[in-house]
Symmetry: C2
Subunit: 198 residues, 2 copies
């Protein structure tokens, strides 16, 4: 699939079918992920692929407790009723029933300066999301459960030396994904100096 | 270009020709960037495209002062002599002589929770890098100058309400880019629990 076709169509998927995600597809996604840039090419990423039902449910329950316990109240004023309802449904179903979760963390002993860790992880996450889309999967970037890193660590046995940055549900979309809604570049870009219209 | 072909070939470019990057290509890159995910689709990204020679030189000089003033010493033990020499050359030439710099920031008043800002910017940066590669440009993700955010802000007139996250040099590669060097997925991925080999 053409890069621009994938990039311009990619959007969050919050509702999944039960269809499994085979190892070969996971590996293509992770190979894409590992080709992202990182500070000094230190490749600090760590992936845990979770398909076990009970373990997925535990991560989902952690997300639900945080959503109901405050994140929903924070988000509600900012987002429309439709998105709120969609997230409510997704959270109730445990990451929308996704058959696979990929937890992406950073190895704190990799040598990457702390200030460059996020810059060395989220490009990798984006490559993973794009590869999933190119293979016909839905996926989403979630970070809520990383706010309680130790609880997330406990579920998947991550040591203290790995900081979780994202949990990515992956599966076949249960409903067709509409086009992403984005503001035009002209509202976001400036020429030479901030305030000079592009 | 095929998504996987671009993703698997992408790598940092540190040396550029003088050839200009036309608006149409910048717009394709920024359009790709704006199609990245962000927390609650808040799209907090802000871009300043810098092509003016003096302003580019000022950003380059800021990077040089930080590199010579400590970043080089931090990086040197971690990276090989070849990469160190390549970065030295690139820094001396002002982001390798790139004819365009894209400064990517986050609008702190966009409504994105502070904990989700980096997760809402670096996927956009990665889309930009991939789009540049697909169009035959070299580019690189740099974050060094964002450590002195106020100095970077001053050069391009960014208000305090915009936090710079990355400076991306873009141009035609001055030398052929070799393949990226990455560790295999098997060294980074775990099955169900950390420590269980993929």
């Amino acid at each position: 699939m053409d890069l621009f076709d994938v990039v311009l169509a990619q959007r969050a998927c919050r509702h999944f079918t039960d269809d499994e995600v085979p190892d070969t597809d996971i590996e293509r996604m992770l190979t894409a992920a590992t080709h992202a840039p990182s500070a000094e090419n230190m490749q600090p990423w760590v992936f845990v692929v979770v398909r076990d039902r009970d373990r997925r449910a535990a991560v989902g329950e952690l997300a639900r407790s945080l959503w109901d316990g405050g994140a929903r109240s924070f988000a509600a004023p900012h987002i429309g009723d439709r998105m709120l309802a969609s997230i409510d449904d997704s959270v109730s179903a445990g990451f929308g029933g996704a058959p696979a979760l990929v937890i992406v963390g950073a190895d704190l002993e990799s040598g990457v300066h702390p200030s460059a860790l996020a810059a060395s992880i989220f490009p990798c996450v984006q490559n993973l999301l794009l590869a999933a889309a190119a293979l016909g999967y839905g996926a989403a970037l979630t970070t809520l459960t990383t706010l309680v890193a130790d609880q997330l660590r406990a579920i998947v046995g991550l040591p203290d030396t790995v900081q979780p940055f994202a949990v990515i549900p992956i599966g076949r979309p249960a409903r067709p994904l509409g086009p992403p809604r984005r503001l035009p570049v002209g509202t976001k870009a400036h020429r030479e100096r901030f305030g000079t219209a592009w």
